[in-house]
């Protein structure tokens, strides 16, 4: 069950046929179960053991990191982006702790700066839908969920620093609440990465990157846009520093009234045969605020400490469906998600053994329909430590431990539950004969009174052809993945089940990558086959108790082919052309189910078999023009033949750049859905037709 279902499942419509006495007995049973798990002795011992293990690891970090100076830094570090499908070379350090060299054989995408600029004040949904072969199920602005390779929304982990920011109660993030232009880059891994990232990353992971610029002086980056249907966005980034220390403040406001016209398919006219009536979307407004504060100090070129704070306050009205939109009695239903995320980290890369230690926390508070008594709060404290060392120029390892302490405060849970997680992981890579790279990742997680599986992954890159301007690689990866059931899955009363098993997956990938690079032309082409076999797939279903229950319901096999490509052609000093083409064919089949009514070997709902996009960009002197089109294939929304039609959306934008003294200005105008296509991404949810945006980005004293 998705975000919407969980949020609504306290409504009486969804809670029929309840035997209260038995339910209460069950809730006490769950509570006793939890009490047993949390009994002071038991919990104390468990807690002590996990913490002890973690501190043992810290001690090892300290031991290894003393006195081993080395200048070893592999060529892998410097060109790690070359292994991704979009070439982006940063001259600054990337804070997101990701290192592609340990993830041989996997598919990684990085979004270009132009693409980030084009999406502008939009959110992660806009970005992924337009430029990646990833399907995002969304309404018109308030709620969207990411579905990578046919997996469910809680199979994609989203990271900020060392924090997985997915909701602990729902296991997923609302992609509509994640701004794009607040961050410096967005890095996407397609396919399982549980061995690298832990529970949940069955379908993939997304990292929101922040760069350390080590600003000297002051710098201001301001962005503003206004658009159709009450859209407005203001983003300000203020950088200050002296090269030694750096303070960065980022603020974003996004507002959307969302009062767009649409053809209401829920209003057939039976009396005059006039077809359907025009309607105006009501009560679908969005208002988001985000504030990020960073402070960093570097002790030397290769060691620094930093702290990042991200406060998000997102309010959206739950968009009424088309039928609801015509109800005279319709009232707005508002949801608020407040999150505070903080991450501090010390990073030292000057010794033979490089290491970092970090600590932080996330406090989430989701309020349903602004009813204070139904708040859903979770707090988590996270700390991690990691060491990394190169054996030689062609190989290295890293090892780390991560500890989490989680305390939920949810109106529908028995109170007093605290959960701890301890992850210990190690990764190693080695390159052989300058052609074959092999990486191995191992991870074991311990969760309070829950058995998490041992999670390995093994990947290879083989350089099949190597010419002066091009290469061909063959990639392969096999990995195990898993997801611990969310807190709602286990503890929601009624329906949660503490005895659920973790979702358990095996993932196989095989692909090839071609790259060509000359003075004028750079081309990347990648083809990747994937096969994900996930057992104990969790779903909420209407059980024999008359209410919704979490259940290890399905066995799903998701398989397909991804094609990604991009090209940059420098026609002349003043003219550059860029383009990209992505396509995914994905069959996500329900191959077995606990429910007899499920249709076996049928495509999962809201997984298009075909999805693709094409973008082209031309920049001439200070002018630029960009166009993109995204195709989304048919999707079923139930198992009785309900299908949403395929659609193609085409967008275009132009920009003009100019410099006035130390101010760089970039003006733009954009039109979305040029052909005013009427479509549904989610059944019965209206989507906006043609819309416009204009805006400007100003960069004062830009030295980066």
């Amino acid at each position: 069950m998705g975000w919407e279902g969980l949020r609504k499942k306290n409504k009486p419509e969804d809670l029929p046929n309840i035997n209260f006495h038995k339910l209460r007995e069950k809730s006490f049973e769950i509570f006793r179960y939890l009490q047993h798990r949390n009994s002071s002795n038991h919990r104390g011992t468990y807690c002590l053991n996990m913490l002890r293990l973690f501190w043992v690891f810290i001690g090892l970090v300290a031991f290894f990191s003393t006195g081993w100076a080395t200048e070893l830094s592999t060529w892998e570090d410097s060109i790690r982006h070359m292994d991704r499908d979009t070439f982006v070379v940063h001259e600054v350090s990337v804070v997101s702790s990701v290192s592609g060299k340990y993830q041989a054989g996997t598919k990684q995408l990085e979004i270009t700066e132009t693409q980030l600029n084009t999406v502008g004040g939009g959110n992660l949904t806009d970005l992924l839908s337009r430029y990646t072969p990833i399907y995002v199920k969304s309404d018109a602005g308030g709620l969207s969920t990411i579905r990578i390779r046919g997996t469910s929304p809680d199979h994609t982990s989203i990271f900020f620093g060392g924090l997985n920011i997915n909701s602990l109660t729902l296991g997923q993030s609302n992609a509509s609440n994640i701004p794009v232009n607040l961050f410096d880059d967005v890095y996407i891994q397609l396919g399982s990465s549980s061995a690298e990232n832990g529970s949940g990353s069955i379908g993939g992971s997304i990292r929101l990157g922040i760069h350390r610029n080590w600003t000297e002086g002051f710098r201001l980056d301001a962005y503003g846009e206004a658009g159709s249907f009450g859209r407005n966005n203001e983003t300000v980034k203020l950088y200050a520093g002296n090269g030694k220390w750096e303070l960065v403040t980022r603020f974003r406001h996004f507002g959307l009234k969302n009062d767009f016209p649409f053809l209401n398919l829920a209003s057939p006219d039976f009396e005059s045969d006039k077809g359907y009536s025009e309607d105006i979307q009501r009560f679908a407004a969005v208002k988001n605020y985000d504030f990020v504060q960073e402070a960093a100090y570097r002790f030397s070129e290769k060691s620094y400490v930093e702290a990042k704070l991200w406060i998000a306050n997102n309010r959206h009205q739950a968009q009424p469906t088309m039928p609801a939109n015509i109800s005279a009695s319709l009232q707005p239903e508002e949801y608020q998600d407040k999150s505070t995320r903080i991450w501090t980290e010390y990073r030292n890369e000057q010794g033979k053994v490089r290491y970092h230690i970090g600590a932080g926390g996330v406090m989430d508070n989701a309020v349903n329909a602004m009813v204070d008594t139904q708040s859903i709060k979770t707090k988590r404290f996270v700390t991690e430590a990691e060491i990394e060392q190169n054996f030689n120029l062609n190989g290295g390892y890293k090892a780390g431990a991560k500890y989490k302490r989680i305390s939920p405060e949810v109106y529908a849970y028995a109170s007093g539950y605290i959960e701890e997680h301890l992850d210990v992981y190690a990764s190693v890579y080695q390159q052989f004969f300058h052609r074959l790279k092999v990486s191995l990742n191992l991870r074991q997680q311990w969760v309070t009174a829950f058995n998490a599986p041992f999670t390995p992954s093994l990947g290879t890159d083989y350089l099949l052809l190597n010419r002066s301007h091009s290469y061909v690689k063959v990639l392969g990866n096999i990995s195990r993945s898993y997801r611990i059931p969310t807190f709602n899955d286990r503890f929601w009363i009624p329906g949660g089940n503490p005895d659920l098993k973790p979702e358990n997956g095996l993932n196989y990938e095989l692909g090839t990558r071609y790259a060509y690079c000359s003075n004028a032309l750079a081309v990347n082409v990648g083809v990747q086959f994937f096969y994900h076999d996930v057992e104990n797939w969790l779903q909420w279903k209407l059980g024999n108790k008359g209410y919704w229950e979490a259940s290890n319901e399905l066995h799903v096999i998701s398989k397909g082919i991804e094609f990604t490509s991009d090209a940059t052609y420098t026609v002349s000093r003043n003219l550059t052309l860029k383009s990209g083409l992505n396509y995914t064919f994905n069959q996500a089949l329900r191959v077995a189910s606990q429910s007899q009514s499920d249709v076996i070997n049928s495509q999962l709902e809201y997984v298009p078999e075909h999805i693709g996009n094409l973008w082209v960009e031309a920049a001439y002197n200070k002018f630029g023009v960009m166009a993109d089109g995204a195709f989304t294939g048919d999707r079923t929304y139930n198992q009785v033949g309900g299908t949403l039609d395929a659609y193609t959306l085409v967008n275009a934008s132009v920009f003009y750049k100019m410099n006035v003294k130390s101010v760089a200005m970039r003006y733009f105008a954009a039109v979305q859905n040029i052909f005013n296509v009427s479509y549904q991404n989610q059944f019965l949810y209206a989507m906006p037709g043609r819309s416009f945006r204009v805006g400007v980005r100003l960069q004062f004293n830009n030295k980066s």
Binding site: K11, P16, N17, K22, A324, S597, D598, Y637, V640, F683
Partner: protein, 360 residues
């Protein structure tokens, strides 16, 4: 193509009527039941309702019958369907509306009525009026919102909203009074149809639906809900002369679902009730209540995951068991004879919630 399918379905409806008339005449009854429509609730706010048409004679079930006739799908999650005055009236939620179709052709020729209709639940007819229980909004937050809509079937308009706090669900008319089972209060409301004033019958817990017997007395389902436990859940028997509960028949696990949870057998000697056996975890089934002895005598079916509703064929007495394991896949209808033997089963639309046997 749509026209052709419309014609074919219309002809099949007519043919079905013809064949069932014959059957009824042979059986000697005065009223024939030529058609069985199954209301599939769908999935709240996700998939609107649909109608399945079941040919009881040929054992053929056709899904999406409404859509085939009207060329468009339903646009509401229908809570209840009611045959009255040659039409079938539907109580639609999201979009909130009352709409109706010709009971023989399933064709809708009038737009749904939305004015003064907010979360309609159930209805019962008397003369030119339908009395419609309406929750009026988020009844779970504010029990004062609910009301009875007095709907004129000739003008197709709500003539009057009669305030009735407490979330009226099931309705029945007996002895010149309208009975409303309150689902958010421990009462049955009784409205004198002449002056439209209320009196109340106290009940041990909240209530959901009625069955009216030949004596014009009522069985009421007294249920436990998540927010309102009921230590005396089961059936209550209301004497409509005195407006008192004269008997209670405990059934701890009686379904509190918003669907057809109880039905009389054709001769009213039994009541089939959707319920559980009281164990943990509860297992759903259909229990037979023997009216004469006032006891639950046997399970027609038990151990059913996702049991939703029960229907009874008024001619054959066959018991229709409706099952909905989840809200994205087809539901199921399993038919048992009075002896409890499974006769046939069919896939339905999503969440089958009631059977409507349409009279001639």
């Amino acid at each position: 193509m749509k026209t052709v399918s419309k014609i074919i379905l219309s002809l099949s409806v007519i043919a079905l009527f013809a064949s069932s008339c014959k059957k009824e005449n042979n059986g000697g009854g005065e009223v024939g039941f030529g058609n069985c429509y199954i209301l599939n609730y769908g999935s709240y706010e996700n998939t609107p309702s649909s109608i399945s048409q079941y040919d009881t004679e040929k054992d053929i079930l056709t899904n999406n019958a409404y859509e085939a006739i009207n060329s468009v799908a339903m646009t509401s999650n229908v809570q209840y369907a009611y045959e009255y005055d040659g039409n079938i009236y539907f109580m639609g939620n999201v979009a909130d509306q009352v709409f109706f179709v010709n009971k023989e052709t399933l064709e809708q020729t009038k737009n749904g009525i939305t004015a003064d209709i907010v979360k309609p639940r159930y209805c019962v007819g008397s003369g030119n009026y339908l009395y419609i229980s309406c929750w009026g909004g988020k009844i779970w937050d504010d029990v004062s919102l609910s009301y009875i809509a007095k709907f004129n079937i000739t003008t197709n308009a709500v003539e009057k909203k009669i305030a009735l706090p407490g979330g009226p669900e099931g309705l029945a008319i007996a002895n010149g009074k309208l009975y409303a089972a309150l689902n958010y209060d421990n009462k049955v409301a009784v409205m004198d149809l002449a002056n439209e004033t209320f009196t109340y019958i106290e009940t041990p817990g909240v209530n959901s639906y009625f069955l009216k017997d030949k004596k014009e007395n009522l069985y009421v389902s007294m249920v436990s809900t998540w927010g309102a436990p009921n230590p005396e859940a089961g059936l209550g028997y209301i004497n409509t002369q005195t407006d008192e509960i004269t008997a209670k028949y405990a059934l701890e696990g009686i379904s509190s679902d918003y669907s057809s949870i109880m039905q009389f057998s054709p001769d009213e000697s039994s009541i089939y009730v959707v319920g559980t056996d009281g164990s943990w975890p509860p297992v759903g089934g259909i229990k037979e209540f023997d009216v004469a002895s006032g006891t639950f005598t046997r399970d027609i079916v038990s151990g059913v995951t996702g049991i939703k509703a029960v229907g009874v064929n008024p001619v054959t007495g066959d018991v229709y068991c409706f099952i909905a394991e989840n809200t994205t896949a087809a539901g199921k209808m399993v038919i048992y004879n009075e002896g409890g033997d499974s006769i046939t089963s069919h896939n339905t639309g999503i969440t089958p919630s009631m059977a409507l046997f349409v009279s001639e």
